[in-house]
């Protein structure tokens, strides 16, 4: 039992006017990284999900292996308002280094659980404190020394579960998921959870309004991170070659490929792999290998983040110009340079769109959730092979590494599109072949795959100037012909990429344009604004180049806000290039501090600008 806190503090009561908060709160666990708290945080989050309560989790972690502050934010919301919440209505303070700051971030009426050996920060009278005798309970449980620190984090799971009403059975199921059914690991953690819950039951009295209660709002949802979803999407899209280099926050995408491929993609007769995954020596090599494999006819991909994208620029230009299908996932982090590797951003948009010297324009897909990471995971290969060129998929750290409550993945309903590939029989029939000839007028040429047994099949792919036969040429007219065809192809691309998602509100003058992980806070902000009587429409871009719906949306709204997570307003710049007549009307709402946006920041921004 806590010996340091005066009884008066324990008796402090929250604001008497506070309403009961059933299934509607934000919970922040402040701890140090490398202490195993992730297991505990996942247990709380999954347990809430298992209880049928909509939930989200954002891990704000340092670029470090062990010992620096980490905050894990869980939001439970019966109204499915799951964007990051800036305040810790329920704080679990486990890190003495940050405790004063953490306590200051608790709003009046909030709750603070804390390890009872903390001596400072316990003097607020407008919040409820609950001490947790972490050291004492761990001593009593007496776990093996090497597990002590990990088990200690289970103390807060038990205490918080007891006070908030999280079912212990749901915690057990959550641990089963986390430890993949390893009973021993589940039991050693669960016994600590139970002991802590029992202690809380015996010693703490509930004095706060926050409560979790079983609901039925998650049955048709799943909990998954975008990198796992992307890897699975790629697998169901038939990825046959992947090369990668370790980088935060993209590593877990390639690691998920390596985890799931052996189970899902064995040859039924021989048991051998119908894929190859190569860890390259750097990102240049990673994309280079993928380009080589894509040229050969494999479904080839790589995955990386900012610094890797920078290294890939030369190969991206080659793939664009030599017209090689390849899929590149960029799980964006905060830059420039090394930047903040464990923080999220949407700062690669402009660079990736024009990545490469000369006139280069890339197709970009913009998933807004793990479900879309799955869908674009397979669709990207179809688009790349159809258009014969690189397709970038820009996810970000928030989507990629955090668990999202999201719709289950839908099995691909369309057959694979392998694009315009000529076989030996085709060549017999046609009697001639020009690799870069625009036969169909859509800018997309026909290709042959190496190994095609026909004397007409071969060509020498090259990044140097070439004519329709792929032969080197420096003739000005041949160069222009080729570049104009590539331009036609980038126009053709519009019809093959996913359309924007438009949600028009009746009578709305305000239109919000955005993409990616901004979806959660933006849709929540629209609800908040609607409650104030401000109707807004939204358009979520899912690809570049833009389709017709984007211009229609801009013209249909008197006020357009482009909401994004970068410093330069990159999406707005792209829209201004595309819609020069409307350029001055495109207002920017942008923030780039490494954290996922909050609904209140967006709503306030709109209100502020509307007031002028």
């Amino acid at each position: 039992m806590n010996r340091d806190v005066p009884a008066a503090k324990l008796a402090a009561r929250p604001d008497a006017t506070s309403e009961p908060r059933l299934n509607e709160f934000s919970l922040v666990v402040a701890t140090v990284n490398g202490s195993g708290s992730q297991t505990s945080n996942m247990a709380i989050m999954r347990a809430l999900f298992r209880m049928g309560i909509p939930v989200s989790g954002k891990n704000l972690f340092p670029s470090n292996i062990q010992g620096l502050p980490t905050w894990f934010t869980i939001r439970a919301s019966a109204r499915s308002r799951l964007a990051r919440h800036a305040q810790a209505e329920v704080l679990v303070g486990m890190n003495p280094e940050t405790f004063l700051e953490d306590v200051a971030n608790v709003p009046p009426g909030g709750v603070c659980f804390y390890a009872d050996h903390f001596a400072q920060g316990l003097d607020r009278t407008d919040i409820t404190y609950y001490p947790m005798p972490v050291q004492e309970l761990v001593r009593q449980a007496n776990p093996p020394k090497e597990l002590r620190e990990y088990i200690a984090n289970m103390v807060y799971v038990g205490v918080v579960a007891q006070l908030l009403g999280i079912e212990l059975e749901a915690v057990r199921q959550a641990l089963m998921t986390h430890f993949r059914g390893k009973a021993k690991a589940v039991e050693s953690n669960m016994s600590m959870v139970e002991a802590a819950a029992q202690w809380a039951h015996d010693h703490l009295q509930k004095r706060d309004p926050f409560r979790a209660d079983r609901a039925a709002m998650t049955e048709d949802k799943i909990l998954v991170d975008g990198n796992t979803a992307a890897a699975l999407g790629a697998i169901y899209g038939g990825v046959s070659f992947a090369a990668w280099y370790p980088i935060t926050p993209a590593s877990s995408l390639a690691e998920a490929l390596q985890e799931y491929l052996p189970e899902l993609r064995r040859d039924s007769q021989t048991g051998k792999a119908t894929y190859a995954v190569v860890q390259a020596e750097d990102e240049m090599a990673a994309l280079g290998m993928a380009v080589g494999a894509g040229w050969m006819g494999a479904r080839a991909m790589t995955s990386t983040s900012g610094p890797g994208i920078s290294l890939m620029a030369e190969f991206a230009g080659l793939a664009f110009f030599a017209e090689v299908p390849v899929v590149i996932w960029d799980v964006q982090r905060l830059g420039p340079s090394t930047g903040l590797p464990t923080r999220t951003s949407q700062g690669d948009l402009l660079f990736v769109r024009f990545m490469g010297h000369g006139d280069t324009k890339h197709v970009i897909l913009l998933p807004g959730s793990p479900t879309e990471c799955f869908e674009f995971g397979w669709r990207a290969f179809d688009i790349a092979e159809r258009l014969q060129g690189p397709v970038f998929v820009l996810s970000d750290l928030d989507i990629g590494m955090n668990l999202w409550m999201t719709d289950p993945f839908r099995y691909p309903e369309t057959p694979m599109d392998r694009g315009k590939v000529l076989t030996a029989a085709d060549l017999d029939r046609l009697g001639s072949f020009g690799r870069y000839a625009d036969v169909d007028g859509d800018g997309i040429p026909y290709r042959t795959l190496p190994g095609t047994e026909h004397p007409l099949a071969a060509y020498l792919a090259r990044g140097s100037g070439h004519d329709e036969q792929a032969n080197y040429t420096e003739r000005p007219e041949a160069w222009e012909r080729n570049m104009l065809r590539l331009w036609r192809k980038t126009e053709t691309a519009r019809q093959y990429v996913p359309e924007a998602i438009v949600d028009r509100a009746d009578g709305a003058d305000i239109g919000l344009i955005y993409f990616g992980s901004v979806d959660l806070p933006l849709q929540e902000a629209r609800q908040v604004l609607a409650e104030d009587g401000t109707a807004t429409s939204s358009l979520r871009l899912r690809a570049i180049p833009f389709g017709d719906e984007v211009g229609d949306f801009i013209r249909a709204h008197a006020e357009i806000y482009v909401v994004e997570m970068n410093t330069d307003g990159q999406l707005r710049q792209l829209l201004q290039i595309e819609f020069p007549v409307e350029a001055a009307r495109l207002r920017s709402l942008r923030k780039n501090d490494g954290l996922p946006l909050t609904a209140s920041w967006i709503a306030d921004g709109v209100r502020r600008k509307e007031r002028g």
């Binding site: 999900f49 998921t177 799943i222 998954v224 699975l232 169901y236 899209g237 990825v239 046959s240 070659f241 799931y260 899902l264 993609r265 040859d267 051998k272 792999a273 119908t274 894929y275 190859a276 995954v277 190569v278 390259a280 240049m284 090599a285 994309l287 280079g288 290998m289 993928a290 380009v291 080589g292 494999a293 040229w295 050969m296 006819g297 494999a298 479904r299 030369e314 190969f315 080659l318 030599a322 289950p408 993945f409 099995y411 691909p412 694979m416 795959l449 190496p450 190994g451 095609t452 047994e453 026909h454 004397p455 099949a457 071969a458 060509y459 020498l460 792919a461 090259r462 990044g463 032969n471």
Partner: protein, 349 residues
């Protein structure tokens, strides 16, 4: 050897798969007259013809530079990829993993391999990607009009840059360090040896590294340069007389006990290394290291097969991939069934 003899017949001779030598040609070269690279291209054509390679089963690779232009000048009926400066290894790795049924021939230069591409080169060797990796080594950048590359001799002088103060990179030594299973050095002025080594390399399963000294007649052909014709001619010391004996031919070449070494390659062909003057065992890695040191100290261009070890798994074998080309897999091989997705998704709770 089959030769097209003038006037003897209106019909050109054909090899065992019915192709004429002309079927292995490329487009006309645009390299300088007398460039060693052109001689190497000719030997690639001759070797491919003589070992009856189906050109459609070959895939060519290169980076950027004079040497890297040359895949346009041989095997017109083979697909090829003239890629980025120093990045041939990456392109070739991905392509050959994606289609293990094809035979790779890569042509690079000393700038491409030992300067800008040294990292990729090393990792390519380390992974044992099955490909004939030819370094057309002249110690100088030609297309940019004469700058030192990383294989330039210390003390070498060229017009614009003066004297080179740095020791050269020895690509064969790097090959040994990376456990490359086939390391040969030759000289473009010795076309017969080049051709026989090429034929052997084409039968090797794994990376076969050929460092071919290929003089640049325009920028680095001064007599004192170890990459010049005259130096090569005067200092070449072949380790053995190399002959490739295809599997289809009975070994009727006579050799006395202890006079020749026979190395059997994966497809059953045999490489006969007939001794010339010295006792050299190319299966002994330490002997190869010693030889490189010795020839450097004595300023000798030791040519021939420096090292061979056919018993290392290739990258595709290490990856455990199916025998069929990954690139040829169809949708039913590539997309797991609907039920499997339901199983996977059921875990996301």
């Amino acid at each position: 050897m089959t030769v097209v003899t003038e006037g003897a017949s209106t019909r050109a001779a054909t090899n065992r798969i019915g192709l004429e030598k002309g079927d292995y040609r490329g487009r006309p070269t645009t390299l300088c007259q007398g460039c060693g690279h052109n001689s190497i291209s000719s030997q690639i054509i001759a070797a491919a013809y003589e070992v009856d390679l189906a050109p459609e089963r070959v895939v060519k690779f290169s980076g950027i530079g004079c040497s890297s232009k040359s895949p346009a000048y041989f095997l017109n009926r083979s697909h090829g990829f003239n890629s980025l400066h120093g990045r041939m290894p990456a392109i070739a790795t991905g392509a050959l993993v994606a289609n293990r049924s094809l035979l790779g021939i890569g042509v690079s230069g000393d700038g491409d391999t030992a300067s800008i591409g040294l990292g990729q080169f090393i990792h390519f060797l380390r992974r044992n990607v099955p490909m004939v990796y030819i370094v057309e080594n002249n110690g100088v950048y030609g297309l940019t009009k004469g700058q030192f590359s990383a294989t330039a001799d210390k003390g070498q002088v060229i017009k614009r840059q003066g004297e080179n103060p740095f020791l050269p990179v020895d690509v064969c030594q790097i090959g040994l360090d990376m456990n490359c299973g086939f390391i040969a050095r030759s000289f473009a002025g010795d076309p017969r040896q080049v051709k026989e080594l090429l034929k052997a390399a084409l039968s090797f399963r794994g990376t076969a590294l050929l460092d071919i000294i290929s003089p640049c007649v325009t920028f680095n052909n001064r007599d004192e340069s170890t990459k010049s014709y005259n130096w090569g001619k005067e200092h070449e010391a072949p380790l053995h007389d190399v002959t490739l004996v295809p599997r289809r031919e009975e070994i009727h070449v006579e050799y006395g006990e202890g006079e020749a070494t026979l190395v059997e390659l994966h497809d059953g062909t045999q490489l006969m290394l007939r001794k010339i003057g010295r006792d050299y065992d190319p299966t002994d890695r330490r002997a190869a290291l010693h030889l490189l040191e010795e020839s450097r100290a004595q300023q000798v261009l030791a040519t021939g097969l420096l090292f061979v070890n056919p018993n290392q798994p290739s990258l595709q074998e290490m990856l455990g991939q199916v025998d069929r080309p990954l690139a040829a897999l169809r949708a039913e091989d590539l997309r797991p069934d609907r039920a499997s997705l339901e199983r996977v998704v059921a875990e996301f709770v």
